[in-house]
Amino acid sequence: MKLFFASVATIAMTSCATMSTPAGFGSIYADIKTGEHVTSNDCGTKVGTASATNILGLVLLGDASINAAAKSAGIKKISHVDSEKKSILGIFATYKVIVYGE
């Protein structure tokens, strides 16, 4: 009986740490890079990142804001922003923001 409930709980929790992407959901595995924003500022030489993690859809931690990423590299003028999303079996997922600028 315990094994049955544990299995049901596990199945219920899967896909809780998945993310939507322009290419759709990746329930089993996702590793995708996408563009987020573009500005009219010149392409910069500085790069900053910030990330957040999701565990089982129950615990979400981190600061994946554009502000955090820009601050980490001392970027004052943002040229464009990309993101990287990874998730494994809906159990563990990360979202990373990459900011380019000057």
């Binding site: 030489t45 500085k46 790069v47 601050k71 980490s72 990287e84 990459i98």
Partner: protein
């Protein structure tokens, strides 16, 4: 030449009006074991390199139990002659819970960067603060050093090849 290292998720290469822009995602170096150390978490560092400018920008984050504003960095192998000795620029200092986080920046020449990752043994990173007369040391274990240095050597090889192609 380093071969066989999987670099997925380790670096990013982008087109830039002045050439190719390389970014090495944040890596970690553990605090050197010392009971009196104010270092709480591993050093986080990342590199940015634009191939037309020949200088590598190194950004670092220190996490300490008390306020610590590092103003200089020495990277040395076997605590002997320093490979790199630089003053640091502070980007910002902030608190997170009970810890103090300092984000600093410095630059080095491409050749110095190559020399750093050619070291046979894991180099030691020592941050000093004149204001507080304190120092903070980080060092990788040899196994991690071999793994990380091979990845960096592969990227440096890639940069050299792209530079040659660009000049042709």
């Amino acid at each position: 030449m380093a071969v066989g290292q999987e670099l997925g998720g380790f670096y990013k290469q982008s087109i830039h009006p002045e050439g190719l822009l390389y970014f090495i995602f944040p890596q970690q170096i553990p605090v050197s074991k010392n009971r009196k150390s104010i270092g709480k978490k591993a050093l986080l560092y990342d590199y940015t390199y634009l191939d037309s400018r020949d200088s590598v920008t190194l950004l670092m984050t220190t996490n300490t139990t008390e306020p610590f504003i590092p103003d200089s960095l020495i990277i040395s192998e076997n605590s002997k002659n320093p490979i790199i000795k630089r003053n640091l620029t502070i980007l910002y200092v902030e608190t997170k819970g009970k810890h103090w986080i300092a984000r600093t920046k410095t630059k080095m020449a491409f050749e110095e960067w190559i020399n750093l990752y050619s070291c046979k043994t894991s180099p030691q990173y020592t941050f000093t603060s004149k204001e507080k007369a304190l120092s903070l040391t980080y060092s990788n274990n040899e196994r991690n050093w071999k793994k990380v240095s091979r990845k960096f050597q592969k990227i440096q090889e890639l940069i050299k090849i792209n530079r040659i192609r660009k000049n042709e």
